[in-house]
Symmetry: C2
Amino acid sequence: MFKGTPSHPGGEFSSLVAAIGGQENAFTTADYTAYHQTVAREFLPLVMELEADRMANLVLTDEVVLPERDVILEERRSRIENDPGSLLSESVNATLYQNSPYGIPIIGWAHEIEQLDREDAVTFYDRYYTPNNAILVVAGDVTEAEVRALAEETYGAVARRAEPPARDWATEPPPLTERTVTMSDPRVTQTALNRAYLVPSYLNDVGNEGFALDLLADIIGNGPTSRLYRTLVVESGQAAAAGSYYGGTAVGSGRFGLYAVPRGETSLEDLAAAVDAVLAEVRENGVTAEELARAKRRVVAGAIYSQDSQAAMARYVGAGMTVGLGLEELKDLPRNVQEVTLDEVNAAARVYLDPKRSVTGYLVAPEPDERS
Amino acid sequence: MFKGTPSHPGGEFSSLVAAIGGQENAFTTADYTAYHQTVAREFLPLVMELEADRMANLVLTDEVVLPERDVILEERRSRIENDPGSLLSESVNATLYQNSPYGIPIIGWAHEIEQLDREDAVTFYDRYYTPNNAILVVAGDVTEAEVRALAEETYGAVARRAEPPARDWATEPPPLTERTVTMSDPRVTQTALNRAYLVPSYLNDVGNEGFALDLLADIIGNGPTSRLYRTLVVESGQAAAAGSYYGGTAVGSGRFGLYAVPRGETSLEDLAAAVDAVLAEVRENGVTAEELARAKRRVVAGAIYSQDSQAAMARYVGAGMTVGLGLEELKDLPRNVQEVTLDEVNAAARVYLDPKRSVTGYLVAPEPDERS
């Protein structure tokens, strides 16, 4: 069972309320918070009743809120402050997004989490945790009629507390500069490179750009036959790992990401040059029809396989619908992916893998004589 | 005559309303909009009457607002979009400030200016152009009693339309990464390097940090005896120009900036390394007592000379007071600067000229074979 409550992006507020609401069964992205439960069929009515109750009757006293704030700070310390790679990702993110709130970490900045209080939690809860701002997804051995009746009994009984606020995030200006972010930290034992390009999301793309970017990410960096892996890991042996991905499920901008981990004595500079050469080759000469056909098979198979798992199916539908994609679009994905042309994929590479749209992060250990 | 109306930082709104209000005699910073007039003594009552009128009775119809919006877009095109150096500065800015609104250009992003309408102008005007959100500074051959009486007659008659909003800008997380921004543009005929460090402002510094940073900027990069100039322009001949400055008059964070322009065949990489060497020397061994004494004389003299010009004096007081500095603090500046110790200046260099607080911008022309 999946329930998405869209939240303002980047938000210590989301994290705080989600933590209070039930951390172990919730996760927050830049665009929504999801609560999920996997239960035996006969417990569905009970779980829906409990979830509906959590939407209206969450206890938000100082006794509840303040310790949860400390839990989030501790979570931030252990997962982010203690991990130079995560700190680097935060800075890459803040650099990639020059105007939209996606540059703010989802968990929030420590100095802002520290300032949160009961009133912030109540305000956020009342504004976003209203039933008309939620999407309920139930996957499993159920009928629509049965779930609808249950939903009306449970969530249907929860009063509206607010109108869903428009999600008109500030958007990005045209990216014009090539940027780098270097995190030098004595705790780094393995150097690494990661890069993000500002690209359209499924929601704000033109034509098939989102699908084309997804296929491109597959061709460039998914698995042992991909360009990056074959060139850097298998052929030149410069990398221990390399890959790419497309993050297109977002209300605002999407991102095309890639990473590479050097092997042996390879420097990050040499590795970056080798990555650039792979991308330049794709931008210049395009991908092949064979590569595209293989990528389509993989992307379509992935979409179909995900339906084997109730949890994955629910998550797929919930994630898509909370950012604004329609159920039909989500169902039609396999067919739509098939329709993407070689020209569309090659155009996406030429237009969007432009260095001027990119931020490259370098994770390094300080030189022995470095002071700061 | 100077009148500062604090505005929200980074704002196409400020620019729009200021343009309508009287572009030729107004300027906008990240923290305030200032209207200024220099007039003969006998016109003071008239000008104050006109200025007070502009605070309440600005005509904000579509016929006025929409053409002014186009004026700002045109101004943005001619001053920023046509100048790769200005575009680079915008990107450096957006990279330096990861959380606070100082990352937004003062004039605004083009795609957001385009969306402004009459309602935006009216909302902004009513919220910020209220007399209780303004500071009037009159410098010249006048008495306090006379100006006070005039002010009560003119501005005093304008009704309050709003309470001044709290200027609690989001603040910056601790900066942890060294960042670079490269603007490669065929219009670039002269390469250049500029760098900004995130540092405290006069308003949010601890102890004498603001003054120490101001003196440090003077020692490192003000004039022909400064470290950067002497080393890079005079001695090595690698630079045609080099300097540094401290921007500390801000409600939020301040910045320490520096720039260098290569001479002849010097590459930006070599120039950056030479700049870094100058800074490393200062951070490691400190500045000398003589350098500090000379810097103090220059900073104090600057503050005193500025009082020779009515316009400069009014601007100095207005800028300081609109960001929240007291009149006494501003008057005491020369004495306070004298009290800064060598240790304080050297500590500021060690703590704040840390590469992890910095963003370096490179302005370059594309290589002949570069495509994008």
